[in-house]
């Protein structure tokens, strides 16, 4: 009887120490679920979801404080992926947070730009080059098309230009039966 209790106590002690040690040493930094959600989000950093960036939104979803249908740039496809990851039913995008738009990049009209640097401060990915009273320009390859530079511009010199399909980015279409063309 005593031996059995002794063994159990010893066992509990050993396991307790092992668990305690691993809890300290093998601690996972950050929230792994938030990281996974963040990987699905399009990283536009546009804030349309109501959070200041994709990561805060991912963290909010992970905490259960935000819904999965608040990201228009991610589109229905993104919602589906999030639903799959979180094991919930996919739902249509929440219109309150905006509607999906075709991918575009910002373009500064260099004739109108007065060099106020307001757009530079607004850009979440530092994709605008310029200095005070110097003409600004956008690094198109790094622009996420978030449109955050549009409201602060005092002279409305920034326009969003839709990215047209070109040869290197052309995709084969999903095969389908060609319907007979009428007229």
């Amino acid at each position: 009887m005593l031996t059995a209790i002794g063994v159990m106590v010893l066992l509990a002690g050993v396991i307790g120490v092992a668990l305690g040690w691993s809890a300290v040493r093998l601690k996972v930094e950050g929230n792994p679920l938030a990281e996974k959600i963040d990987a699905i989000l399009p990283q536009t950093q546009c804030g349309q979801c109501g959070f200041p960036g994709c990561k805060p939104y991912a963290e909010a979803i992970a905490r259960g404080e935000a819904d999965i249908n608040q990201c228009p740039p991610g589109g229905e496809d993104g919602v589906k992926q999030l639903a799959e990851l979180l094991g919930v039913e996919p739902k249509p995008l929440d219109g309150e947070h905006g509607v999906p738009k075709p991918k575009s990049v910002a373009f500064i009209d260099e004739q109108t730009c007065i060099g106020c640097t307001l757009c530079i401060q607004a850009c979440p990915v530092d994709a605008i080059v310029g200095a005070a009273k110097q003409m600004h320009t956008i690094i198109a390859s790094e622009c996420t098309g978030c449109e955050l530079c549009l409201p602060p511009c005092p002279v409305d010199c920034i326009a969003m230009i839709e990215i047209r399909e070109d040869l290197p980015h052309w995709k084969w279409r999903y095969p389908q039966i060609q319907l007979k063309r009428v007229a």
């Binding site: 963040d38 989000l41 399009p42 990283q43 536009t44 950093q45 960036g53 994709c54 990561k55 979440p124 990915v125 530092d126 994709a127 790094e142 996420t144 399909e165 070109d166 040869l167 980015h169 052309w170 995709k171 084969w172 279409r173 999903y174 095969p175 039966i177």
Partner: protein, 573 residues
């Protein structure tokens, strides 16, 4: 001595239709009035235009320079004037326009000076750069820049060089007639390749349905000072695929995701060898190629065509017929449907196949897959096409990649045998380009995430730096004030006070310093006020003061009158 040949798995035997076009001699197509030369004719970076509208160019002149290592230059196919540098519709399945250089030819075809290269005396790297600037790209169909393929890599040696004269695709005969008529030039090209790659063995693989080509090549090989073995390989589609040719000749398979050079083998199309010989020994850049024009035309034949010639010109030369339903670039198995028949011939154009309803009846509507696995039986890449189809159709691209979708060479054998007439290759192409697009998007997202995180970090850092700077400034101001206070106090107090400066500085120092700062600020404010007060109202003489008082009294009276309503108004309503 017969060489032991190996049989790759799968393959099909479609009717070859070679006899239509391979009997006629090579006909040099006349130079058209206008050439449309795309800058993107090869795999890799498009060439960068170096001419402007209005420039006169001569035949063989560089008009777009290679951009980076994996690229090839583009040259004027004939002399004339550049009339446009603008996007034009390309011979591509997308039908999208891309940058082209348009030349109005003058008909004189005046060449630039052609300087042959002494390739044996040149360092290999220089020679490769020269070839890149001569616009050399593989003529077998993939148009990969040849200069890159002629680099044997760190090993500096590629033991086996294979010249591919398989030409397994039905209808196409441009390599066949090239071998019949220009075997010597092909062999000279092989000698240059052998020199660059350090190969010890050279094989030429030709399908046995081309006996004339085999004979001509054997004859040419006998005249060489090094050994070249011309091997007749069985005619099986796609036996002319590079990986299939390697397996047939050597019995070795190129591992998935690897290059043939990793197993010491390099494969070139015979047309590329011919172009290489013309470039090195005659100084001619790649401005023309052989093109088979066949199918629904009156006289199917092979043309020597300047790059940039509209396809319709060639179709007219071969005899346009009523009832054409479309144009394919390439053969019926792998060819691409052209957006229209006026797109230009490019380096990749080996065949212009005019379709008609009789020759190429529209495929019946696709039926559901019955999982008969006939496609798997014929797949030369040893894949499971029925599974790939299932995953690509469902958009399960991860699984498709697990099933080695990217090993698919899009040969079309599976589509050819499918009893349900499913356009299988179309699904694989869709799957592949979808995967590429997603990868591109992911890269862009990763870049945006990285930049956003760095920006957050930068803003945080700037905030901390600013706070530290302000704190330092405040501390300096305090220290300065304390010092001033100490200096002011020091002369007033006696020796004992100066003997205990620690007590004064320590106990009341802080409060004193604060008081001093406040006092100084007040003094500054007072001084400022004194400065900013209007100077013309101070120190008035008695007369001026009297005048002012009078005026003020008058003003007061007027105000008084204004407040009282006029008597006339009150009496007369």
């Amino acid at each position: 001595m017969a060489r032991e040949l190996f049989r790759f798995k799968g393959g099909v035997h479609p009717p070859d239709h070679k006899a239509e076009s391979n009997a006629r001699p090579i006909h040099a197509a006349p130079i058209p009035r206008q050439l449309v030369i795309p800058v993107r004719q090869h795999i890799g970076n498009p060439a960068k235009p170096v001419v402007d509208v209005g420039d006169t160019v001569r035949t063989g002149q560089l008009i777009a320079a290679a951009d980076g290592t994996i690229s090839a230059a583009v040259h004027a196919s004939s002399s004339g004037t550049v009339v446009a540098v603008e996007p034009r519709v390309l011979p591509h399945a997308s039908g999208l326009p891309d940058l082209c250089i348009v030349i109005d030819t003058d008909g004189r075809d005046e060449w630039v000076e052609r300087t042959p290269l002494d390739y044996r005396a040149m360092p290999a790297a220089d020679l490769r750069m020269k070839l890149r600037d001569m616009g050399l790209a593989g003529l077998g169909g993939a148009v990969f820049p040849s200069a890159v393929k002629l680099d044997a890599g760190p090993a500096q040696i590629c033991p086996l060089l294979i010249l591919n004269g398989g030409e397994c695709e039905p209808w196409i005969t441009c390599d066949d007639v090239l071998m019949r008529h220009h075997a010597d030039d092909i062999m000279r090209g092989a000698a240059i390749m052998r020199h660059l790659l350090g190969s010890t063995e050279v094989l030429v693989g030709i399908e046995d349905n081309k006996p004339e080509a085999l004979a001509a090549m054997r004859e040419a090989a006998a005249r060489l000072e090094f050994a070249v073995e011309v091997v007749a390989v069985p005619s099986v589609y796609p036996g002319g695929g590079a990986k299939q040719m390697i397996e047939t000749l050597t019995g070795r398979q190129v591992p998935s995701g690897k290059l043939s050079t990793d197993i010491g083998i390099q494969v070139f199309n015979v047309g590329t060898a011919h172009a290489l010989a013309r470039a090195v020994l005659h100084g001619e850049p790649m401005i023309e190629r052989l093109v088979t024009v066949t199918g629904h035309v009156l006289r199917p034949q092979n043309f020597r065509v300047r790059i940039g010639t509209p396809m319709q010109t060639l179709i007219d030369l071969a005899g346009d017929r009523e009832g054409a339903t479309g144009v394919l670039m390439g053969g019926p198995m792998m060819g691409l449907v052209m957006p229209n028949s006026h797109v230009p011939v490019v380096k990749a154009t080996n065949c212009i196949l005019v379709q008609s309803r009789e020759l190429f009846p529209a495929p019946p509507a696709a039926l559901p897959c019955i999982r008969c696995t006939r496609c798997a039986d014929v797949c030369p890449a040893e894949l499971q096409p029925q599974e790939l189809f299932r995953f690509a159709k469902a958009g399960d691209f991860g699984r498709a990649q697990e099933y080695h979708l990217f090993d698919c060479i899009e040969c079309g054998c599976c589509t050819y045998v499918c009893p349900s007439h499913i356009p299988l290759v179309a699904y694989y192409r869709y799957g592949k380009s979808e995967i590429w697009a997603r990868e591109r998007e992911k890269r862009a997202a990763d870049l945006a995430r990285e930049r956003h995180e760095f920006r957050q970090f930068r803003l945080e850092r700037e905030k901390v730096e600013k706070a530290a700077k302000l704190a330092a400034k405040a501390a300096a101001a305090r220290a300065q004030a304390a010092q001033d206070q100490a200096r002011r106090v020091a002369p007033a107090t006696d020796a004992p006070a100066t003997a205990t400066p620690d007590a004064a500085a320590g106990g009341t120092g802080e409060a004193d310093a604060k008081k001093a700062i406040i006092a100084a600020a007040l003094a500054r404010a007072q001084a400022k006020k004194a400065q900013s007060a209007p100077k013309n109202t101070g120190q008035l003489s008695p007369e001026q003061q009297r005048a002012i008082d009078e005026i003020e009294a008058r003003r007061a009276k007027i105000r008084e009158l204004a407040r009282k309503p006029l008597e006339s108004e009150t009496e007369n309503p």
